[in-house]
Amino acid sequence: MADGSDSADAAETSARPTRWEIVALALLLLLGIVGIVAARRHAMWDYFEPGPGLFPLATALLVAGSAALAVGVAVRARLRASGAADEGAMPSSVEDRSRLLIYAGIAILWPLAFEPMGFLLSSALALLAAFRIGERMAWLPSLLFAAGSVLAGWLLFERMLGVPLPRGLLAGIIS
């Protein structure tokens, strides 16, 4: 299968760390430092026993320490291989940016609409967006697949497994 992971595999073989890798490692270093600061607000030792701040501090130190080392190693490797061509603004494994953005948007907006709109409406809209805009399918198959999937999901989880899925705007219509 030639999906995004294949390109990721190809990228794996490249020894030169990308700018994105260094940025990500630096962000994790920052996260570790924030963790250390936040952990220090809690007691390290309470009434002769380890307090709630001890373990978070130890793990935040581990994150910050290993992230700092990883940043150092990545920067050094990048400087050593400075002759190689630089990658583009986005990593090379992203071949279809618009489809990716559609799916990322759905992953965030669907949960936000899940309770106010209800399972049926929010899921139908999210899946319709995925099929029609993300996958560029024609309207009719998009509508059929979205409706069929939502109905199957509702029957399986609500009717068979008894999960009380939110009714939202359809609360007065569905019993």
Partner: protein, 501 residues
């Protein structure tokens, strides 16, 4: 009563019509809940507890245990096909199982998982029958210091799983441990890293993280790649073409045998036995392999070993339950509840007082494992056919399952939002070559690790020497150091041997 006569009595009970049906229902339900993300064996067993009121204790326990080990196998199906681990112990199966599926070898991956689980189940059941009650004492020998050392070894093993840099694996494991501290402090109840959100007070849910970091991240990876109509897989000619061939069996025999023994031993320990056994088996097979570079790229040993180990561990975890009354995980805790409702207190006297229950359940595990095989092997073509579903339909479907599955955990839209956020995070991590597997596994071990460290320090009056003064703890810590330093030791040994030549 000796083992043989005990097993004969057990088979008489477990093969009786009604018990056979309860066992079939249990393993069938278990496989289904293992496949469905979100709804795990704990929730299913809790939901089905009222049904067991009407059953006798043996039938109830046969069905509930069937759900548990059925879920262990079911969890591997989605791990292999769509990279969503149905259970925590299937996370390791995602690595090579999914890669095998991508290379058109989903059938052998699923087949070896089924056969490996069956063989491990048989080994574990015979192990329980032969050594169960005497070995149960091992669980008592483990105190907080020993658990800390065991989890430390587990965490070191976690960093050896991936293909990438060890340093980055350490970073991700540290991040997983840090994430495990989100929520109320388990001892004092102080909120930590909750950002004032009530929804975070219970901490992050394992299933939410797994669905986000693996399921939604995979959807985003599919979306980022070229759009393709369907996976170009050859249509297999019958069931036989989907089963592992002779070469697969040759490669998997050792991993299944070692995984079964490792899983059985680690399953005896309360805590993360099944999980640790799965990645301990993976690391062991990778270390023993002639071509370790094949791991992570679809090596069948990376499926056979961990799947055997987690199934053996799932069954071995019944020993501390039945022999000592100690639940080794949450599922066992719920099963103890079911036994107590029946007026039975599991403990050292159970084997003597209720041999019908003890041997009936042990024998039913053999029967249940056979039923799992009979149920699942004929379904292999159906499972593999799922991979023929065009990616443009499969990706939204995975998203739907992740959304509804995460909502079903606590009926909370916040969990669904977290799945989305962790999905984007998981995809981003992959892009920058940071493996989410060590994060996930360390997160799962984090709570046990913190509790054990703090309890051990409390017992040791604040002195960390307690970790090296206890023999089991010292041996486990020494093993962790050895695993950690092994690459350096190997280089040193290589140089010395080179100099000697």
């Amino acid at each position: 009563m000796d083992v043989i006569s005990g097993l004969i009595q057990g088979f008489t009970i477990s093969l009786s019509g009604a018990n056979l049906l309860w066992c079939l229902l249990g393993v069938g339900l278990g496989t289904a809940v293992g496949v469905l993300p979100g709804l795990g064996p704990t929730a299913t067993i809790s939901l089905l507890l009222p049904i067991t009121y009407r059953l006798d204790a043996t039938s109830a326990l046969i069905m509930l245990s069937g759900i548990y080990y059925g879920a262990m196998y079911g969890g591997s199906i989605t791990s292999i096909l769509v990279k969503i681990p149905g259970e925590a112990s299937s996370i390791v199966t995602c690595i090579d199982g999914y890669e095998m599926a991508r290379r058109g070898r989903a059938g052998p991956a699923l087949g070896i998982a089924a056969f490996g689980s069956f063989i491990a189940g048989v080994v574990a059941t015979l192990g329980i029958a032969a050594f169960g009650p005497p070995l149960a004492g091992l669980a008592i020998a483990f105190g907080p210091a020993e658990y800390t050392a065991l989890v430390t070894l587990g965490l070191v093993l976690v960093t050896q799983i991936g293909e990438g840099s060890r340093l980055r694996a350490f970073l991700m494991a540290g991040l997983g441990l840090l994430a495990s501290t989100i929520g109320l402090d388990p001892i004092s109840g102080t909120p930590r890293f909750t950002m004032g959100l009530a929804e975070l007070q219970d901490g992050l849910d394992i299933a939410v993280l797994a669905m986000g970091l693996f399921g939604v991240a995979e959807v985003l990876a599919l979306a980022a790649g070229p759009n393709e109509a369907a996976r170009a897989l050859d249509r297999p000619k019958g069931l036989r073409a989907l089963l592992p061939d002779a070469a697969d069996w040759r490669a998997s025999g050792g991993p299944i045998a070692r995984g079964s023994v490792l899983g059985f031993v680690l399953g005896l320990l309360p805590g993360g036995g099944a999980l640790i056994s799965s990645f301990a088996s993976y690391v062991m097979e990778k270390r023993l392999a002639r071509e370790p570079e094949r791991f992570g790229k679809g090596a069948i040993e990376g499926v056979a070993g961990p799947e055997s180990a987690n199934n053996a561990a799932a069954q071995a975890s019944f020993i501390p339950l039945l022999s000592l009354g100690i639940p080794s995980n949450v599922v066992m805790g719920v099963i103890i509840g079911a036994l107590m409702i029946q007026g039975i207190a599991p403990g050292p006297m159970l084997v003597a007082q209720r041999p019908d229950l003890f041997w009936g359940v042990i024998a039913s595990m053999l029967v249940g494992n056979l039923l799992l095989l009979v149920l699942n092997v004929p379904l292999l073509p159906l499972f593999v056919a799922l991979l023929r579903v065009p990616q443009r339909i499969l990706a939204p479907m995975i998203l739907l399952f992740c959304v509804v599955g995460s909502y079903s955990l606590q009926n909370s839209a916040f969990d669904v939002l977290l799945v989305g956020i962790f999905g984007i995070l998981g995809w981003s991590l992959r892009l920058v070559k940071l493996d989410p597997a060590p994060f996930m596994l360390a997160f799962i071990l984090g709570e046990l690790f913190e509790k054990s460290v703090r309890q051990a320090l409390l017992i040791g009056v604040g002195s960390p020497m307690i970790f090296v003064q206890k023999p089991i703890s010292a041996v486990l810590l020494a093993s962790a150091v050895l695993v950690l330093l092994w690459p350096l030791l190997r280089i040193g040994l290589g140089r010395r041997m080179g100099a000697g030549v």
